[in-house]
Each structure stands twice: as structure tokens, then as C-alpha cells.
């Protein structure tokens, strides 16, 4: 290496030193420690005791986990599908001639919930969802819908959490899709029009392929975040009734910090990590087929 290159390398690692240190101490180190911890029983107060595969055996036999994982998968599926589809539909709808004031209002109203704290808005939605006094049931009643036990029935609890999640974050995807639409070169549409393509054909053969990179980003981001859902079920339903709306992260929290089974909590956390990684890699692999880069 030339002295200049050597110096540049030296400087570069100097600039990177803080984040590398942070990465080692607060991400990589703890991730490795979590693997180690999963082979121990540790209740914080007494020293860890080696447990061999016990936590993993318990993981595969835990009668509560199938339902808890199922809830989480249902949440993630609908959360990702709805925030993507609705976000895209909104963006396509908003992508037309519109007075600047309306444009501002549309963008603002859909995006604002993204910035609020999920914990705080969960406190609000808890009352909106009230079976007898909530305004949601009141207005649904106007359309002849029977009162829905949003938070108290095992059938509806997870749906309530999905609805809240979609309401809160659909604006994020909306903004992304609006920007994506904005980036599509005008001349593609003009050329299509000259070739006699209608509205639908332009949408299908220009808009959709051009947006696939954004769709890809939105899905991957939604998957990673969706699997970590915690605040809303924790506040709205505390996981209930029974385990009907308990999510994996809630279970990790309860095992680790309520029952102080840090080893078992680590095992469950690792399973979540593995699933997120596998799904993300599958997404990347699949993206070669359907994502269209210009």
C-alpha cells in the first residue's frame, strides 16, 4: 500500500472508531452473549447455571408458543400487506392535479400519526375501541353493525392491534410511494400515450414496474418492524384475552423481565432473529425476480 493509501485507511478507521466500538459493545457482543445465555438459566440475582439444551427443548415444547408466534405472523402479514396496498393506493390517488392546500392537507393528515408515540396513541385507541362506549362501535352501529368486542374477544383482539398499526404507519409508506411516483420520468408516460396506451396499461406497464424497488423496501422494512410489535398489544390488551393477542416480543419481555428467565427469553429472542433474517434473505432472493431496477 502506498503511504497515501495507508494514511487514508488509517484516517477512515479513525472516523469509524466510535460506531465500530458501539457496534461491538451494544450489538455484536450482546448478540453473541445472547447465544451463550440461551444455554444457561439465569435469574439475574443468582449466578447463571449451565442448562445445556434445556431452553431449546423447552422452546420446542412450549405449549404457548405456537399461538404466540401465530399471532405475530398474522399481525406481520396483515400489517405489511395493508400498509403496502393502502399506502400505494393513497399515493396513486394523490398523484394528480390538486390545489396546493389540499395536497398539503392530505400529506399532513396521513403522515402525522407516523410521528406520534405508539404507546401514547394506544392509550387513546383503548377508549376508541371500548365495546359499549367507544366511538368506533357507535359509528359502526349507525351502519347496522353489531357492537364489536374489539379488545375483549380472542377473535378481534389481534385485529384491533393490526388496525392501529396500519393507521399509525400507513402514512410512512404513502410518502415513500408519492416520492417514488414523482421519480418516474414523464417521458415514459408521454411515449406510452403516443403508442395509444390507456390509463390502465400505463399504470400496469410503467407505474407498477417503476415502483417495485419502493415496494421491496417497504415490505422488508415492514417485516423487520412488524415482528417487533410490542407497545400496542402491551397497552391495549396486555396480550389477552388469554394469549389471543400476545406477540413474541411480549413473551420475551415477560419471560425475561417479569419471570426473570433470562436464558429462556434469549432463546425465544434468537428464534425471532433467525426468522427475521430468513424472511429478509428470502425477500432479497425473490426480489431478483420481481423488482425492476432502472
Amino acid at each position: 500500500m502506498s503511504p497515501r493509501r495507508l494514511r487514508e485507511t488509517f484516517v477512515a478507521y479513525g472516523f469509524l472508531a466510535p460506531v465500530i466500538a458501539g457496534f461491538l459493545i451494544f450489538v455484536l457482543g450482546p448478540a453473541v452473549a445472547a447465544i451463550g445465555l440461551s444455554f444457561f438459566n439465569y435469574d439475574v440475582l443468582t449466578p447463571p447455571r449451565f442448562a445445556g439444551w434445556a431452553n431449546y427443548l423447552r422452546f420446542f415444547r412450549d405449549p404457548r408458543l405456537p399461538l404466540i408466534y401465530w399471532n405475530t405472523v398474522v399481525y406481520v402479514f396483515w400489517y405489511v400487506v395493508l400498509t403496502t396496498v393502502v399506502g400505494l393506493a393513497l399515493a396513486v390517488a394523490a398523484n394528480r392535479a390538486m390545489h396546493a392546500v389540499w395536497r398539503y392537507l392530505v400529506r399532513t393528515t396521513y403522515f402525522f400519526p407516523v410521528l406520534t408515540s405508539l404507546a401514547s396513541v394506544s392509550l387513546v385507541w383503548q377508549y376508541l375501541y371500548s365495546t359499549d362506549f367507544g366511538i368506533i362501535n357507535y359509528y359502526l352501529g349507525k351502519f347496522g353493525v353489531q357492537r364489536i368486542p374489539w379488545l375483549t374477544s380472542s377473535q378481534w383482539a389481534i385485529i384491533s392491534i393490526i388496525v392501529l398499526g396500519v393507521w399509525k404507519n400507513v402514512g410512512f409508506n404513502f410518502i415513500l410511494f408519492v416520492a417514488g411516483l414523482h421519480n418516474i420520468p414523464r417521458h415514459l408516460y408521454e411515449a406510452a400515450e403516443i403508442d395509444g396506451a390507456g390509463r390502465w396499461a400505463s399504470f400496469r406497464y410503467i407505474t407498477v414496474p417503476s415502483l417495485t424497488p419502493v415496494v421491496f423496501f417497504v415490505i422488508v422494512w415492514g417485516l423487520i418492524n412488524g415482528f417487533q410489535v410490542f407497545d400496542s398489544p402491551f397497552i391495549l390488551t396486555t396480550g389477552g384475552p388469554g394469549d389471543a393477542s400476545r406477540t413474541v416480543v411480549m413473551y420475551i419481555y415477560e419471560s425475561g423481565f417479569r419471570f426473570f428467565q433470562m436464558g429462556y427469553a434469549s432463546t425465544v429472542a434468537l428464534s425471532l432473529f433467525i426468522i427475521v433474517v430468513i424472511l429478509t434473505l428470502i425477500q432479497f432472493r425473490l426480489s431478483r425476480i420481481w423488482v425492476f431496477y432502472q
Partner: protein, 286 residues
């Protein structure tokens, strides 16, 4: 009017009408999106006994400042705000420093292992916080930092997301200025401080708003690390308040949540442009 122009006018009118209807529907949806906030705000200005009155009232029914006083006097609300302010500000400043340094190295310097290191860095985004949180908790406990704000601040001073975002911004800065500075004999540090950082103003603002907002809203880590009432940050404090004031006192709880959301609204109205630019840059050009 000549008969032949009829269909053309009609067609144009129909297209216009379609645009108007879609706009109207979007605005209607926007109103629906804001309903929870409207309900929250109007309920905070009500007698507690009217909180659940049906049909719903969409305007405040009694200008009861007492609901707000109850929050301010009954719980350490001001402390919550100050705690959140302290934690979010320090984390934001820290990330601006660490992430901009790392982003400069990734975007502007050439060194062996750069691309691999960047990939490893990005892969952090896949690691759910819950995987690392237990060892981090143990570490914080060993360091004697449990139930202090440092437990929240120190592990958050670095971020892959922030590094990525700023790298994207730095990549858009033209090289010419940097080369000119290099010719004038400026070293890497001076180039970074005097050329890159001043030009990356919008990027830094965007990251600052993102980070501040994220930690202002954070709930999970404060729930684990903070146990003393007076040290809690806002979302945790408000949640605990619900139990303290009694679930029945909706008016006071909504007053608390309203006061918590107000700063977010202000930041949003002031900084909307940066936020949208930042989201666009991470999602589109990533």
C-alpha cells in the same frame, strides 16, 4: 355550441370531476385519520363524567383547565418532559457526531474492507432489539446504570440507520469542492469539518429530527431500564399515569397525552420538508 364539441367537453369535464372526487375522498380519509386526535383533544376538555357520552361530542364541552392541572400537579409530568428532552437531545447530538464521522468514511474515503464493513453495518438493521436487550440489560446493571438516564443514552449513541442515511446524503455532495480543498492542502479532518458538514446541513437536520422523534416516543427500553417515577420519559410516564389516575379518569389522561403530542405536532409543522426528504432518500435511493 356546435354539437361536435360536446363529447370532448364532456370527456374533459368527466376527467376533472373524477380528479375532484378522488381529492374529496382523500380529504375525507384524512379527516378520518385525524379523528383519534380530535377525540383525544376534545375529551381532554370535558367533565370526567362526560368522557363516554354518546353520541360523541367532537368539540370541547367544558373548558376545564382542571384536567390539565390534574396532570401537571398529580404526576411529575414536567419531569417526564424534561427527562425525554434530556435523553432525546443527548442521543441526537451523539448520533450526529458518530454517524456523520462514519458516514464520511463510508462515502468519501477509500480503504480495504469498506464495502464488506458497510454491509455488516447494514445487516444490524435486521437484528431485532430484543435479541440484544437482555445482555445489554445485564451490562447496564453491572455498570450500575440501571434506573439512570445513561442506561437509555449510552447504547443509543451509535446507529446503523443514521450512518446509512448520512452516507446517502454525503454521496450527493459533488467531489469538486473536496478536490479543491485537497489541492489547498486541507487534511481529511479539515475537509470533513469545513467542506462536508456545512454542505450536509439538510441531511444532518433530517437525521436530527428522526432520531429526536424516535427517542422522544420510545417506550420499550425505558420500560425495562427506568423504574423510578421521576426519572421516566414521557410515553412510559403517561402509561403509568393511566394506572395512577385511574382508568376511569379519561379526561385527565387525554390531557396528558395531548400535552405529549403537542411538541410532536410543532416539530412536524416546522420540519415536514426535512422529514419527507429523509424518508425519500432512505427508501428510494437506497
Amino acid at each position: 355550441m356546435p354539437a361536435t364539441s360536446g363529447p370532448i367537453l364532456n370527456g374533459r369535464f368527466r376527467a376533472k370531476l373524477f380528479d375532484w372526487s378522488v381529492t374529496a375522498l382523500l380529504l375525507l380519509g384524512g379527516i378520518l385519520m385525524m379523528m383519534p386526535f380530535v377525540w383525544m383533544f376534545s375529551t381532554s376538555w370535558r367533565q370526567a363524567k362526560d368522557s363516554f357520552s354518546l353520541p360523541p361530542q367532537w368539540l370541547p364541552t367544558a373548558w376545564r383547565i382542571e384536567n390539565y392541572q390534574e396532570v401537571l400537579n398529580g404526576i411529575p409530568f414536567v419531569e417526564f418532559v424534561l427527562n425525554s428532552l434530556k435523553v432525546s437531545t443527548l442521543i441526537t447530538l451523539g448520533q450526529l457526531v458518530t454517524c456523520s464521522m462514519a458516514a464520511y468514511a463510508f462515502a468519501r474515503l477509500r480503504f480495504p474492507g469498506r464495502d464488506l464493513l458497510f454491509l455488516i453495518f447494514l445487516s444490524q438493521l435486521m437484528v431485532p432489539q430484543q435479541v440484544t436487550i437482555i445482555p445489554v440489560f445485564i451490562l447496564i446493571r453491572v455498570l450500575g446504570l440501571l434506573d439512570t438516564h445513561w442506561a437509555l443514552i449510552i447504547p443509543a449513541l451509535f446507529s446503523a440507520f443514521g450512518t446509512f442515511l448520512l452516507r446517502q446524503f454525503f454521496l450527493t455532495i459533488p467531489y469538486e469542492l473536496e478536490d479543491a480543498a485537497r489541492v489547498d492542502g486541507a487534511g481529511y479532518v479539515r475537509t470533513f469539518l469545513q467542506i462536508i458538514l456545512p454542505l450536509a446541513g439538510p441531511g444532518l437536520s433530517t437525521l436530527a429530527i428522526f432520531v429526536f422523534n424516535f427517542y422522544w416516543n420510545e417506550f420499550f427500553r425505558p420500560l425495562l431500564f427506568i423504574s423510578t417515577w421521576e426519572k421516566m420519559t414521557l410515553p412510559l410516564g403517561l402509561t403509568v399515569m393511566r394506572g395512577y389516575l385511574g382508568v376511569g379518569n379519561v379526561a385527565a389522561i387525554m390531557a396528558g397525552v395531548s400535552m405529549g403530542i403537542l411538541p410532536v405536532l410543532v416539530v412536524f409543522l416546522v420540519a415536514q420538508r426535512y422529514l419527507i426528504e429523509g424518508i425519500t432518500l432512505t427508501g428510494i435511493k437506497g
